[in-house]
Symmetry: C2
Subunit: 212 residues, 2 copies
Amino acid sequence: MSKQQRAERTRQTLILAAAEVFDADGFAPSSLTTISTRAGVSNGALHFHFVSKNALAEAVGDHAMASLRQIARPREAGQGRSLQLLVDTTHALAFRLGDDVILRAGFGLSSDATWKGATDLRQYWVDWVGDVLTGAAAEGALAEGVAVEDAKAVIAATTVGFEAMGRSQPRWFSRQMFGKFWGLLLPRLARADALGSLKPDGSPGLVAALPL
Amino acid sequence: MSKQQRAERTRQTLILAAAEVFDADGFAPSSLTTISTRAGVSNGALHFHFVSKNALAEAVGDHAMASLRQIARPREAGQGRSLQLLVDTTHALAFRLGDDVILRAGFGLSSDATWKGATDLRQYWVDWVGDVLTGAAAEGALAEGVAVEDAKAVIAATTVGFEAMGRSQPRWFSRQMFGKFWGLLLPRLARADALGSLKPDGSPGLVAALPL
């Protein structure tokens, strides 16, 4: 392993350790010493990679945002099946929130009053939900009388709520919970003739990929 | 004003100042000096009333819980009109969250990883929503195929999400936002013949009491 590879590995180890500490304790009370100890790295090495706790949190936020952008990809117009994409993506996000401490810490930083960083995962997610619902409306997939803005607010708030509840009770990240949510909401949201083909528990491909 | 009245007033001032500081900065980074300065009280007087920051947070949590129990009162069986009560109570709670920093700080403490106190406003709220939905089911007010547990999870998560979003964007505490939520959800939740009498924006008496 080259010196450069070792440095990159140390950097990744520090980001993971920081995410674990932020996720458990929040941003403000977390100390750089706790993080470097958990990473098995000296304080000097930590400071070589990150000038401050803020810089470390920015790196956690950037990594988390990159993961979120993989899960909820920017939409292209005319892709079709927007509602099922929305359902599948909430399931994938919930699963990853339970599984990926960097993603969870990134969402946590978005809602942490003591952290004033640049990345805002919650806002990206709310905007993404709005884009997909706009796509669903253009496809004529929404039931009559359902306004995109209203559905966006409800779905965004619910997913943020699941994320907040999941921090203390991981069952909120399960596919059952989001399946219940979609089972309740889809009959109201989707046009009746589109409803039959929608899977509240996620598409077959997704179901195979994610454990219950 | 007697000495006892003055002491009680100082105590209330300290609780309010602590709620303001916790609400703005979170529990962990808030210092007792910031709180006593904001309250216009000496550090000595603060310590006379509260032995620690924990004790002060417990007092904030107790006050907030008392407010929440006023807004979402324990239910008696057979009261009737459970769904409208649920709608009205979410509106009242949202309004009070925008208005009452002690209530907001109490909810914030419930979700603050750095605070391990006894009061848990979120859990009380989730349980209350479940009780009222159980009442609605007993009244035969729920639409066919709607399970109390599913509706409880969705409504609890959504309201927690609105509360979390409202911390950075106060419009989430507005009656319009919860009106949209109920406008979307009620047609799915309520039995068709009960739907006409339900007001997603709140009962007339409530509407008169709360500004939009």
